[in-house]
Symmetry: C2
Subunit: 265 residues, 2 copies
């Protein structure tokens, strides 16, 4: 089982879109996938066509009332389950501020899941606070969706520092697998410059012991494609909404890379 | 003096880009403008070509050590001053958790500024936490940058609820002036659908006492324009970087609308 935290404190870079559609592509490839929505905005939950803030157990109930993750998981597609979010999650950081072992609650809740899924993908809010730290403590891998813009590049150092802190103090297995270039606009000079900077930053870490020493930029880039912004409003994945779009092609190709079968699109 | 909080908990919708470039357009129109960076990402500070985390006083020093806002403000362009951010600001929410009157610190710090500026624009992080609440308590107006996408539309209700809460408990003068459509892609069906939904939501509030009863969608839309994403990497406003681009035209037009001289581009 691979547990992957999808994080970036920069807002609007494609975190939720990546969890929803990479998850769908992995499920189509026959893997059993659990999606977890750790963002109080509940966007992943909405993208899966699930109504937040109902009686269905949510990630809030798991973190605050230690309810069972098994009971909270609902099947949303073939091979895909979701633990949804709840608007109350916004208060979780304050409610858990003085709870002992507050960073470990998600990891403990998921420990019962071992073997039930092939992949667990965790969508995080645009911050490096307690919810994201819970995801980093529960995961072994980190994927960083990144829009190739100047402002988006600025936070990568701080993001990696947070990953290093969690690895050193809470989760020795944690490492950064890769950076997914999202909202990619082919042909702009800016994207080329940002990617070159990023590649340099990663190359400099080779041979060191930092958690991103083996990180790479995924070969597959996710191109800007309006169909990816339309599909959540229909509660559909890109594969159900526009299977022949660039969005579907790119996420299928990314799944192939994640599965290690680069030619597996 | 008009104090405007630029907020949206949805990430990557154009908050920082709007504060930087609307601020610049107002300054070019001869207004004295103070920009405040309340986001620990320090993106507005970087966009103004100011290095964060130096000895220069920042918003962190004002909120945590009650340093003077006057001393923290630095002139970055003609008619434009900045109170920059600092990476330590990420810890401010926790550090202030048990401080009495923690929501009022920014308002008190700015009260000495009355009359010194014509506009104060406050850039906020992608959340509705304590930093954003400080901005809402200090401001009289709210501008909501919004990308016309389905996911970005979902949070508007929660955002307005937070504004209503702050108005009722902390700041009776607060109201929502308007929504700025950013990253607008002309010709996509999605933008049209989202705008129609939004217009309906606002129309329903007419004649009520909610803080958005008089809100409107600004006529000026900010079109997607790669130059707006390039200029922060040069530490320039759009007017210094590409004065004839759509980005410059749109923000100049928006400033005209904000100044009430709709034809003033
Ligand atoms: N490749 C793409 N092409 C076009 N639109 C996209 C693409 N990826 C994401 N989007 C749209 O861009 C917006 C931002 O994406 P998304 O919400 O997935 O980012 P996020 O990082 O999860 O944001 P947040 O920080 O608010 O959680 C959304 O409206 C989404 O529909
Ligand atoms: N009209 C536009 N056209 C093209 N790119 C834009 C436009 N407005 C903003 N951008 C770019 O899109 C990205 C998101 O914008 P910005 O950082 O201003 O949003 P934000 O709401 O402040 O994000 P955050 O939630 O992370 O604070 C940035 O890389 C910015 O340079
Ligand atoms: Mg998201
Ligand atoms: Mg910003």
């Amino acid at each position: 089982m691979r547990t992957i935290a999808i994080i970036n404190q920069k807002g609007g870079v494609g975190k939720t879109t990546t969890v929803a559609n990479l998850g769908a592509a992995l499920a189509l490839a026959g893997r059993r996938v659990l999606l977890i929505d750790l963002d109080p905005q509940t966007h992943l939950t909405l993208s899966c066509n699930v109504e937040p803030d109902t009686d269905q157990l949510s990630i809030y109930d798991i973190l605050i009332d230690e309810k069972s993750a098994d009971e909270a998981a609902v099947e949303v597609e073939k091979n895909t389950w979701l633990i949804g979010s709840d608007i109350d999650l916004a208060a979780a950081e304050t409610e858990l501020a003085n709870v002992t072992g507050r960073e470990l609650i998600l990891r403990n809740a998921l420990s019962a899941m071992v073997g039930r899924y092939d992949f667990i993908l965790i969508d995080c809010p645009p911050s490096l606070g307690l919810l994201t730290v819970n995801a980093l403590t529960a995961a072994e891998e980190v994927f960083v969706p990144l829009q190739p813009h100047f402002l988006a590049l600025q936070g990568v150092g701080k993001l990696f520092e947070t990953v290093a802190l969690v690895r050193d103090r809470l989760n020795p297995k944690l490492s950064v697998t890769g950076i997914v270039l999202c909202l990619y606009e082919t042909g702009t000079r800016l994207a080329g410059e940002v990617v070159a900077d990023l590649r340099q930053f990663i190359e400099n870490a080779r041979g060191t012991v930092v958690p991103w020493a083996h990180a790479r930029i995924f070969d597959t880039v996710i191109r800007r494609n309006i169909k990816l912004a339309e599909c959540p409003s229909h509660g559909l994945t890109i594969f159900d909404y526009e299977p022949r779009s660039n969005g579907a092609l790119d996420y299928a190709r990314l799944a192939g890379e994640v599965l290690g079968k680069l030619g597996a699109v």
